[in-house]
Symmetry: C2
Subunit: 318 residues, 2 copies
């Protein structure tokens, strides 16, 4: 039999997936007796589609006519751009791509944590002939790092930083136990987790509950001169409170990869603030090679009748 | 009995050691029946000194009158500023301070490797409102790193980078076997180790044989656009060849922490070169807290008659 797979995303994304996805589908379906017919938007009548690989576009899709659709496989980890779509009643899976997305996030978070820890910018921005070697940074073992969000990305980043010697504290909504990381949970646990942290990394999902998690109140709990790294989602930070904390010296720097509006407008104060580094939503890229294998794995599960992986819990929002 | 310990280094260093060193000596000698009498330069007649903690100063010391001296314990890993002193006939130990010096070097090397790998400078130097998110870097697994020098520092850095996913190749003069690292040795092995490397890290000792290890010939073996990180010793690089390789595009960047002359003169072309980052010999600091424990361990060994640790092999020069 043939499974009808609709690839519904911007054409830029199709350019990236057109090579690896057919190969991954063929490999995954080998021996199942099924084959995949992969087409882009408009290639099938909606009622013919069995499986959709979905990259949210600016126009929300009406999922109502996709009556045979068994799974919407989001191409990114964050589902905030699709979960509010009321026409979506079919199961939704997130992209949890350990090989690509997680590895990339761990590399970016570790790199920027070390950049802040070592004070690299002093030298990168100070190539002026002045030999500035006055004060060594503390060793990692004396630099407490707190990560908000202990999902697949947060816990992978935390364990890597812990192996480098940082004392790592992790916070999540529900209790977690993760080797090498001191964990806290719930509203009281958040205050404990943030108290005295010198570097805070935000990897929470974007839900109604996580909005403005870093605000004037919680920023005041950090160690004076703390640094904030946000590779998660923009709304987790109260932007005005962040700027106030940078201006008062409570924070010494913030590196922000995600924003309420992206691309961040050129006249946004973050761009010009001397204590803010804006990066353009690059902390983690979905890598088509490895992501194709995850898509294909859920197609294989559809073919053989196994439960899907990475399903989103609508009640939690992620 | 009492061991006479001379601390012979600049007064700046004494300021750092005057607290932790006496405490470390007392802890190490507890139960040995010996005590330490610790004094700075001029505190003892030379023939009374049993043990010297030594930080090379600009005036070479005449070791001849130190007739009772059992060990010169260098305060740094590099002994190139003392090993050529012909009056030194007493045993010489290097500082191999895993807790401080090695941890600091691993943090610096890992941070700058990730900085180059991720292309961070594009954003740190480009806070101009332009959203530059065109091309993701490869994952670490697709970024071959070669480390020249597989001593305590090189192998610790290599193993940390390997755990982050980088394919790490290590080169040393004599054969080594290190978990997670592909190793080569000897002159032919050097060419193999450098061929196709995208990031090269220099952690060789400064000896006659390692001078100009990176020269026009060996730089040509690297992958086009490769990056060089030198936290080792300045003379390992032929500076003119390095600049030529940067200008031709064979290298895309060099981060240099050590130089033939330090501080690097303000008019040196490295400071102004857009593809060079000068850092002021900060990759690894000897941390007085942990280094004091290493000094004290060799004092304890003297007290109880055990062999010294970290002795320098004069025939190898390190």
């Amino acid at each position: 039999m043939t499974l009808n797979i609709l690839f519904h995303a911007d054409s830029d994304h199709w350019d990236e997936y057109r090579q690896p996805l057919p190969a991954a589908l063929e490999a995954a379906l080998e021996g199942t007796g099924e084959t995949a017919d992969l087409r882009t938007a408009g290639g099938f009548a909606p009622e013919e589609v069995d499986f959709m690989a979905y990259g949210p576009t600016n126009d929300p899709l009406d999922f109502t006519p996709y009556t045979r659709l068994k799974l919407v496989q989001n191409l990114w980890a964050g589902v905030d751009r699709v979960i509010g779509n009321k026409t979506l009643t079919q199961p939704l899976a997130r992209m949890i791509d350990t090989e690509g997305l997680t590895a990339g996030m761990v590399e970016w978070v570790t790199g920027h944590t070390l950049r802040h820890h070592l004070g690299m910018d002093t030298h990168i921005l100070g190539q002026d002939g002045i030999w500035r070697n006055d004060t060594p940074p503390p060793l990692a073992k004396d630099r407490p790092v707190t990560i908000l969000g202990m999902g697949a990305l947060g816990s992978a980043c935390g364990q890597t930083l812990a192996r480098l010697g940082f004392p790592v504290t992790g916070w999540s909504r529900s209790p977690k136990s993760i080797d090498g990381i001191t964990t806290h949970h719930g509203p009281e646990g958040l205050r404990t987790a943030l108290s005295g942290a010198q570097i805070v990394i935000l990897l929470l999902p974007d839900t109604a509950e996580t909005k403005n998690t870093l605000n004037a109140d919680t920023l005041a709990l950090l160690a004076p001169g703390a640094m904030v790294i946000n590779p998660g989602r923009g709304p987790m930070i109260d932007d005005d409170a962040l700027i106030a904390a940078l201006d008062s010296g409570q924070l010494s720097h913030a590196t922000l990869d995600v924003f309420r509006v992206e691309p961040l407008p050129a006249d946004h104060p973050f761009w010009a603030h001397p204590k803010v580094t804006v990066t353009p939503h690059i902390a983690s890229w979905t890598r088509p090679d490895s992501a194709s294998k995850i898509v294909a794995e859920n197609v294989r599960r559809l073919a053989v009748g196994e439960p899907f992986i990475n399903l989103v819990d609508r009640s939690l929002g992620y």
